[in-house]
Amino acid sequence: MVNRKMKTTFTVALTAAMALSVAACGNSNDNSKNNAASSAAPDKTNSGTATNTTKSDKKVTITFQNIYPDPTTPSYKMVHELSEQYEKEHPNVKIELDTLNTDQQKVKLKTQAASKEVPDITIVNPAAQMKPFVDAGLFAPLNDMLDKNGLKDTYQTGLLDYYSFDGNVYALPDGNNIEVVYYNKDLFAQAGIANTPTTFEEMLKDVKILKDKGITPLAIGEKDSWTGSFLFMNILLRTNGGPGFLQDVMDGKKTFEDPAFVEAVDAFQQLVQAGAFPDGATSIDANAGGNIFKSGKAAMWVIGSWETGAVDASSVAGKVGAFQFPTVNGKGDPNEFMLAPGSAFAVSANSEHLQETKDFLNFFASNLPKKQFELKNAVGLGQKVDGDLKAAGYSDLAITIAGLFNQVKGGDLSFDNTMNPATSQVHLSSIQNLFVQKMDSAAVAKEHQTAFEANK
């Protein structure tokens, strides 16, 4: 009997303890939330009254998600050096770098966004790609911060429009690039090719010559499917006779079954069939694909001008030139480029240290052009830079590309910067498919149109 009673008491005691501990947990959670809320509140008032006095003693950690994982590139050095400099000047601020490669970062941000936990600073792509995030109210408007220290005036006219919605700027781009064809002069000479191709037919011929010499004609890493799409869109820009194809589709003036699109698919397949790309291209990611060119194993690389600094820092430095993507079937203007307003820095609207983050980003963006110039990575910047490239010892390649910038007569944004994510995904895998099997171009066009209509 006694035993039984003991047991009962024990049970009750245990249950009570458990219940208490659960309640305690809940309580402590509540407390921390309250704390966060109450500490955030005075923050806001502080920032309102004393805008420039950021040197408070409060310890602040700012998470900075970025896409510069390769330590050999100038961009990597730029981010690290600027962050360290800021930390030195502001001992209370710690910049925590969350470094990922592009595709990983895109996915990570989406998962974080789904749970409303966007890092203080993150990377987004312009226009269509950042729109869902802005619609969801995840990013803080940066207008006030842009007006400070004259930061806004450093950007090229019109560039910030790609990152603006309803009159608010939500992100600051790291560059403003064009797609070019880099080529390895040594390998061209080895294959006996004297001139760079100006038509697609010449390009195909060169591809065959290079292939016969055992040289990979075009480097690419198509596991990250945007790379192939970026190249394909260049062909479409030509077969369409100029920019605006995707816009016309969205406006209902054209469909993907338009002859220009089908022709572009056919041309692209010719390139694949000629053996232009490395074996197993779809298993190589974009970084590794670029390394095929940068290690001197491929003759050409069709990619954004943002790679100029990285090419100059690689083992093929000095051997590389660049030219415009050629005309296709006699169509298009070589001075129309695939445009790539850079990936951009956005600030989380829910950041616990919104003001500190904006202050840091202001410093970062203001100093970015100067730093990139020092690191010989100023080609394709979205901001104005003072200084003469030649005098600063920039490579011939950099000067060539800076020259190409002066010839830009307009162009298109990449597919996934223009179309909604669902249609873009179908497009990206459809193009990836062209790398591994021959497709009926009409079927490819139809696949695009079906996806577009289903996801409008």
């Binding site: 047991k7 009962t8 049970t11 245990l14 249950t15 458990m18 895109k106 996915v107 989406k110 998962t111 966004a113 789904a114 869902p132 995030f133 619609d135 969801a136 995840l138 990979t216 198509e222 596991k223 499917s225 490395p278 074996d279 197993g280 291209a281 779809t282 298993s283 909604n420 994510p421 669902a422 873009s424 995904q425 179908v426 895998s429 459809s430 990836q432 498919n433 790398f435 591994v436 099997q437 289903a454």
Partner: protein, 296 residues
């Protein structure tokens, strides 16, 4: 077996916390996911209730869905087929190898390695010869040039290349389970059988197989359900590419949710996967209950 006489309340004290955790961490998310599957939602902005619209799209309009289901089921079947092999090997090891444990531990190594490492390892093995792929290199050195392939990028082959890695990885795991099971069968039974004139395969037929059925079932269920959820290896090695050729249900779900920003649709796929897992677990259980009853 002795049964402890403990009041239900006491049992509840020990069971409840776990049950609570289980309900919070497993059961509720499944329900939430089922509900999210009824929404048209990009995971960011306001959701819109569409009833079974996502499921309709999934079953009738999605060209990627059914092939990914087929690949997943094939994955599950393939992973089961290696278990009889493991059992046979376990029997042989137990009978003829003196220190079988060491061998089993060696086979077990791939299970301990991270899937990312295994994926990267096999990616380099499968690489084209021009990138120093070992498999193709060996084939060429054997004079079998025509047998070389881009193992991971040819749509018809890539999935089988993945199956093989998975089989390779889990071979030791199932071998360990089977080996332990075989070892636990008392020697007296075999001795008795020997006296009665049943040796070798005959003893296996009448002693080992019936007694190993429960262990065999565990292996089968683990392999089957594990493969239905296969994700990490595919993600590391091909990410479902080229062009969906290696998409399984889980990668299709992931791509829909996070790449195409169709979170609701992805949840619908997830719900489907949960149901498939439940149905097959139930099916395997009934099947084995019948087999066990037959042997008893």
């Amino acid at each position: 077996m002795k049964v402890l006489k403990v009041p239900a309340r006491t049992i509840a004290v020990f069971v409840l916390p776990c049950l609570l955790l289980y309900v919070c961490l497993v059961f509720i998310p499944i329900l939430v996911s089922l509900y999210t599957g009824l929404l048209k939602w990009d995971g960011l902005t306001t959701a819109q209730f569409v009833g079974f619209g996502n499921f309709k799209d999934m079953f009738f309009n999605d060209p990627v869905f059914w092939p990914s289901v087929r690949r997943t089921l094939l994955y599950a079947v393939a992973s089961m087929l290696e278990i009889p092999l493991c059992l046979g090997m376990a029997i042989l090891l137990n009978r003829y190898v003196r220190r079988g444990n060491t061998l089993v531990s060696i086979y077990f190594t791939p299970v301990i390695l991270s899937v990312v490492i295994i994926g990267q390892l096999w990616k380099t093995v499968y690489n084209p010869a021009s990138m120093g792929g070992m498999l193709n290199g060996v084939l060429i050195s054997l004079g079998l040039d025509s047998w070389t392939h881009n193992w991971l990028t040819e749509p018809k082959i890539a999935m089988f290349a993945l199956y093989f890695v998975s089989l390779w990885q889990f071979f030791g795991y199932h071998l360990l389970i089977q080996y332990t099971g075989v070892q636990n069968i008392p020697d007296e039974l075999y001795e008795a059988a020997k006296i009665d004139g049943a040796d070798g395969f005959k003893a296996d037929r009448y002693i080992t197989l019936p007694l190993i059925v429960p262990i065999f079932k565990i292996s089968i269920v683990l392999a089957f359900i594990g493969s239905l959820q296969a994700f990490d290896l595919v993600m590391v090695m091909t990410a479902g590419g080229p062009a969906h050729a290696t998409d399984v249900i889980s990668t299709h779900m992931y791509n829909s949710s996070f790449m195409s920003l169709k979170y609701g649709y992805g949840s619908a796929i997830a719900s489907f996967l949960v149901i498939v897992c439940l149905v097959f677990t139930g099916f395997i259980n009934t099947l084995f209950n019948r087999i066990e009853r037959k042997f008893n």
